[in-house]
């Protein structure tokens, strides 16, 4: 039944997955175990996204299923500390002047399923917000997202302010979004640009010394 749940979720069978969760709870299954199974399913979804079988709809749909199952499990869950060891921390956000979030959210999703703690600051974030978050969370990676050309300059000034605050020593910066490429990377002073969410995952893993 455990594998049925993983399969149902990985194959986008929402109703079936919810039904299995109900049945598992009725049989007295540990809700924490069910929660772990949803994470396993998300890893399968992530792999299928990575190999080009799945696209935006499946990432968003699986996020929805996790949310729904989470709501079902919530009353049954005893408080537990998340003891899973994270690979590292990534501060993520869309830069000042830009309110696009879909690309940023995909990157956040893929980083999380690959074992990173993601601090998502949201959209239209001023330079100071990134500086503050880096000081507070000590991430290994700062990931700046943006879709419009206004983002080029906001990314540049964000990198400059992070540098000026003396925070760049143990921090690697990646930029991503529709128009980002090597030319913009050089312009902004970032360490890398990502063409897609997989590139962000690879960069984050490399930054924490995991291949």
């Amino acid at each position: 039944m455990a594998q049925d749940l993983v399969q149902a979720m990985a194959n986008m069978k929402e109703e079936e997955a919810l039904q299995i969760v109900d049945e598992m709870l009725e049989k007295g299954e540990d809700p924490n175990h069910i929660l772990d199974l949803t994470s396993e399913a998300m890893r399968v979804v992530g792999e299928r996204y990575q190999d080009g079988t799945y696209f935006l709809p499946e990432l968003i749909m699986s996020g929805e299923m996790v949310k729904k199952i989470g709501e079902v499990l919530k009353p049954h869950l005893a408080a537990r500390q998340d003891e899973t060891k994270k690979l590292g921390t990534v501060v993520l956000g869309t830069v000042r002047g830009d309110i696009h979030d879909i690309g940023k959210d995909i990157v956040g999703f893929m980083l999380e399923v690959n074992g990173f703690e993601v601090i998502d600051l949201g959209i239209d974030q001023p330079e100071a917000a990134f500086v503050r978050a880096v000081k507070e969370h000590h991430p290994q990676v700062l990931a700046l997202s943006g879709f419009l050309s206004v983002a080029f300059d906001s990314m540049k000034s964000t990198v400059e302010e992070v540098d000026a605050a003396g925070l760049r020593k143990d921090l690697r910066v990646i930029i991503g979004g529709g128009q980002m490429d090597e030319t913009v990377r050089k312009y902004t002073g970032a360490d890398a640009y990502g063409e897609d969410a997989m590139a962000a995952v690879a960069f984050a893993k490399k930054s924490v010394g995991v291949s």
Binding site: F55, L56, P57, G97, H100, D124, Y187
Partner: protein, 444 residues
């Protein structure tokens, strides 16, 4: 041309009529040279559209707010000072001399219009986004899932009595209006008219009237400048826009997240809505009072790009109804101009299924050599100097890229040079390098 009733004309006759109207606008040119330039530009674009021989690669500038920043205006200022904004766009066209003019219409509408209407779908400079940023869409589930059936059965009624009251404050009172079918029978009329009595609706109507006056002032300043540019020899490119049915549904009705969830939760509703929106997308532009000033209609493409869905999903949910809109426009003598934002590499084979030499496709990050070898056999392709290069590269890099692009996509015609993405800013010297390369290296 002998006037034949429109309904009796063939698609080719309608097309010829529209082209004639574009090529011979009812204006006075400043000089015979300007008139010759205007016609040469129209003819160059038409030859590219129709995959015919031409003198050189036509040049279009996919400029968003760039004319404003070039003139020292922020987007905020451009949306608050119609006269200065219109002048900025005129000066930009005159400075860079592209083939079609760079039109201010999509950018300079006064912010006061949206403020007066309480328009909630977008943020604009100084109102939700900084003054130096462009207007941007606010992602939200503006249409609820249980409203699919209303949209499908009567799209305009749904817009008027549900969607507009939710998304535009001035229309809030429309939510309480009775059906307009009340007017088909005398005894029902008073019931309907009575529903117009709310103070909310009266206030809304005043605000709509005020917004209309604001648009009137802007339009006067703006269209005078557009007329000036035409008189100087620069044709307008597209006459207006419509959208792919899936994008109408996904962009600003259901929203990006919700529409892709619908692909799993209620796929049959998505398909029915897209099919229902085909005639809506056609009427949107074709039934506009006053007709079209050029034969070109713009269709920005959003949610069918690589990454947004699988090839199977594209062929099921996105392409059939977009193709129906394209064919419907061609049938009415229109030249559909699609802007395939993002990457479209995995769609090139599917979209080849269009009538030859009747469509134009602007690409951003799609491989143009492959586009030429596939879609380029049946359609004019346009693009794709990277925005990053224009913004942060050098003139040498830009010129080198442009030469490579002309080699890859320009052979035999059927190609228009452009920036791949909407440029809100950039380096003038890079744009000049792009343009000069086309004028010299792009000769046939």
């Amino acid at each position: 041309m002998a006037e034949k009733p429109w309904a009796h004309m063939s698609a080719d006759e309608k097309r010829a009529w529209r082209i004639d109207r574009w090529r011979n606008p009812p204006i006075e040119f400043v000089s015979p040279e300007a008139e010759a330039d205007y016609k040469a530009r129209v003819d160059r674009l038409l030859a590219a559209f129709e995959l015919r021989k031409l003198d050189r690669v036509p040049i279009r500038i996919n400029a968003g707010w760039w004319p404003a920043s070039w003139a020292g205006l922020t987007p905020y200022e451009a949306m608050h000072d119609a006269a200065r904004a219109a002048q900025a766009w005129t000066d930009f066209t005159l400075e860079f001399q592209p083939d079609p003019m760079v039109s201010p219409i999509l950018y300079t509408t006064p912010a006061s219009v949206f403020e007066t209407l309480d328009y909630k779908l977008y943020s604009w400079p100084g109102h939700g986004v900084p003054k130096d940023a462009s207007y941007q869409y606010n992602e939200k589930e503006w249409m609820l899932p249980e409203e699919y059936d209303h949209l499908i059965s009567d799209p305009s009624d749904y817009m008027l009595r549900v969607y507009l009251p939710r998304t535009v404050g001035a229309f809030a009172g429309f939510a309480n209006l009775h059906s307009f079918f009340d007017f088909t029978e005398l005894p029902f009329v008073s019931g309907h008219v009575g529903s117009w009595g709310s103070p909310e609706l009266a206030d809304g109507l005043e605000r709509i009237a005020a917004a209309s006056r604001l648009v009137g002032g802007w339009a006067q300043a703006t269209f005078a400048k557009i007329g000036e540019l035409m008189a100087l020899g620069f044709p307008a490119f597209d006459a207006g826009a419509t959208k792919a049915p899936f994008d109408i549904l996904g962009d600003s009705l259901r929203g990006t997240r919700e529409v892709v969830i619908d692909l799993y939760r209620r796929p049959e509703k998505v398909l029915a809505a897209c099919e229902r929106l085909v005639p809506v997308a056609l009427d949107w532009i074709l039934q506009r009072p006053g007709g079209l000033s050029t034969p070109v209609v713009f269709i920005p493409l959003h949610k069918g790009a690589d990454g947004f869905m699988s090839d199977e999903q594209f062929r099921t949910f996105y392409w059939p109804t977009l193709r129906a809109v394209i064919l419907g426009l061609i049938e009415e003598g229109v030249i559909p101009f699609m802007f395939a934002e993002g990457r479209y590499g995995s769609r090139l084979e599917a979209i080849m299924d269009v009538p030859k030499a009747r469509t134009v496709w602007l690409f951003d990050q799609t491989d143009m050599a492959r586009a030429k070898q596939t879609l380029g056999k049946v359609a004019c392709i346009e693009g794709n100097v990277p925005l990053s290069l224009i913004h942060a590269g050098t003139p040498e890099e830009t010129a080198a890229y442009t030469r490579g692009l002309i080699d890859a996509a320009g052979e035999g015609g059927g190609f228009i040079l452009d920036i791949g993405a909407v440029a809100d800013s950039g380096k003038a010297e890079n744009l000049r390098a792009m343009i000069n390369t086309a004028k010299e290296y792009g000769r046939y």
